[in-house]
Amino acid sequence: MEFRLTEDQHSLQRALRQVVTDRQPSWQELTEVGLFQLRVPEPEGGLGLGLPEAVLAFEEAGRAVLAGPLVGTEVAAAVLGLDGRAEVVRVPARGPVLVPELPTLDHVLLLHPDDSLAVLPAAAVDAAPAAAVDPDRPLWRLDGTPPPGERTPETRRVAADATLLTAALQVGLASRTVAEAVAYARTREQFGQPIGAFQAVQHLCADMLARAELARVAVYAAAVSGDEVEIAGAKLLADDAAVHGARDCLQVHGGMGFTWEARVHRLLKRAWAWEQAGADRERCLESLATRL
């Protein structure tokens, strides 16, 4: 056992952080840096790396709160060998089927509750634009009955990988909330001292970190094992770390986090969106219960 980043993994992490941090790289740049080709075999022009590397990359994407159909495009390339932009969309237990970024997509990977998968050319998808809460993640509402799919070992892999990569995004986002909260708490003064000196704020931040760190390790381990139930558990913890973290980050920012400009709210809105992407809480818990 050596459950820590290898030197190569550290390098990958550093390189990606440089590309995505503090700027919004174009889709072209993300493609060039190989974000979607990490797991594609070398003979097919990819980097031939594994799920752990993909998870590290997506953690950085989450930290930078990148927009775009990240998860689906990676999974389409790595698991289905499909080129172009794609998004994995789950038919939820209730409520509408929502497809992010539909007009930019080549494929919609529609996952049914039983994990059967319909691979749809995006142009053939009948959907209407809907006003999304997250301004950086436009949504389209699917019309009519979702077409049926099929179940193969590959489709189960699509379901599991999409959940895991979304969990990685959430872990990155959760770490971002800790960083933003701490930075603000260090400088903002109230009642004559930085608010970060108040125990209430310190404890809020400490719990944020604890949630983010536990989720991070869970996501890394699930990437190494590739186990579906472990992935479900990791997603559960990552969602909690991201949503709860973004919520607390906003609380630390007080009124100043309540403005549109402060951008703290974008962390929360994205955390909410990713919480429903891949397997949601109910589905993860169901999966975990099957092994008890």
């Binding site: 939820p92 209730r94 929502l98 809460v133 919520r247 906003l250 703290v264 709210h265």
Partner: protein
């Protein structure tokens, strides 16, 4: 202990209900939230109707032009208007619930005569210039500066979280007149005309994407000394005194509204299948119990205030529990409606707005400090 109406209260409730039943259908459609002049017109027209029916300033003293109703009657008014779906106090909020009562208590006869009637009749709108970007929960750390120049104060600074600034006639403004005094001691209360030169209103877009609030930028605004309420440097006391006017009713309408929302959510859940989820059903049941209890706490605080003149220290306890229950309500709503929660709509707007409940008017952290130190008597830290 008595929860039912007295004969007089039942009578008051019956008449109010009759009047609402007759009046509400006559109202025009509510304006779009982004139509500020439309909102002002709608809100002031409603206020005028209340005035004509004798319900304006229901809790104001009779000698200030109000109805002088008992706290119980005030509560009945808030409950019935909310249940009937009557308009909210809206643009009249600051005038009726803060600036007005402050002037009624601390104003000279001339100030009362000048400022109070237009508020009651829905003719003048007030906004509040208390909060500042740098001050936050530490309200008394405000830095907007007023320098005396003859018969006027010259005011420079900025204010934030001002509602209805776009359509207000007056602003109740807190300014610092003595920068050397301890922070609560150098503050003065001024009535600022919003059309005075040097006043700039900038809409403030919130995380919900709306511009419910504005920032005020004040650049050498001249405000007559005659517009000062109370003594110079006594503005903190002047402002705080008004809180005793509130008598436990502050969140009454919202509590009734939350009870309605829980029931509505149960209906949604029954319709979309979420009701079959035992965990969600229990969440809804828990919320129902909490808001029912919070309503009882409102009734308790109002009764105590009626008997003792002040609402007591229960306000922080109420706000702590109410803020958290209401935020949880919208989180549960998001689970009930599923994917709809990611789309703009009533529930997601409430969820976003609701994020302010544990921040605005004293964060929950500050509320806990108050409860611990003022009610429980725990010592301050070094």
């Amino acid at each position: 202990m008595q929860l039912s109406d007295t004969t007089e209260e039942a009578d008051f409730r019956r008449r109010l209900r009759e009047w609402l039943g007759k009046t509400l259908p006559e109202l025009p459609a509510a304006p779009d939230p982004s139509d500020w002049p439309g909102r002002r017109a709608f809100d002031t027209a409603w206020q005028r109707r209340l005035f004509d029916a004798g319900y304006a300033g229901i809790h104001w003293p009779v000698d200030a032009g109000g109805r002088g109703a008992t706290p119980s009657e005030h509560l009945i008014f808030l409950e019935e208007t909310e249940l009937a779906g009557a308009p909210y106090v809206g643009a009249n909020f600051v005038g009726l619930l803060h600036a007005g009562p402050t002037i009624a208590t601390e104003g000279t006869p001339e100030q009362r005569a000048r400022f109070l009637p237009p508020v009651l009749r829905g003719e003048e709108i007030w906004c509040q210039g208390f909060s500042e970007p740098g001050a936050g929960s530490d309200l008394a750390a405000l830095r907007t500066r007023a320098v005396r120049d003859g018969d006027a104060y010259v005011v420079t600074g900025s204010k934030i979280w001002t509602s209805h600034a776009e359509v207000a006639d007056w602003c109740e403004l807190l300014v610092r007149t003595d920068p050397d005094a301890p922070k609560h001691r150098g503050i003065t209360w001024l009535a600022m005309p919003m059309d005075a030169p040097g006043v700039t209103v900038r809409p403030l877009k919130t995380l919900a994407g709306t511009t419910e609030f504005a920032e005020l930028f004040l650049d050498e605004v001249r405000i007559p000394v005659a517009n000062r309420l109370g003594a110079e440097n006594d503005g903190w006391r002047v402002t705080m005194v008004t809180l005793s006017f509130e008598r436990g009713t502050a969140f009454a309408s919202e509590t009734v509204a939350c009870q309605r929302e829980v029931r509505e959510l149960a209906r949604v859940a029954r319709a979309n299948g979420a009701w079959e989820d035992l965990e969600l059903r229990r969440e809804l049941a828990t919320l129902a119990a909490e808001f029912a209890a919070l309503w009882r706490l409102v009734q308790w605080n109002v009764s105590e205030a009626a008997a003792n003149g002040v609402p007591g220290a229960g306000g922080s306890v109420f706000k702590l529990r109410f803020s958290e229950a209401r935020q949880r309500l919208y989180d549960v709503a998001a689970r009930v409606v599923g994917g709809e929660a990611l789309l703009e709509g009533a529930w997601s707007a409430q969820r976003l707005q609701g994020l302010s409940y544990t921040i605005a008017a004293g964060t929950s952290q500050i509320q806990r400090n108050i409860v611990a130190q003022r009610i429980l008597g725990l010592p301050r830290g070094r």
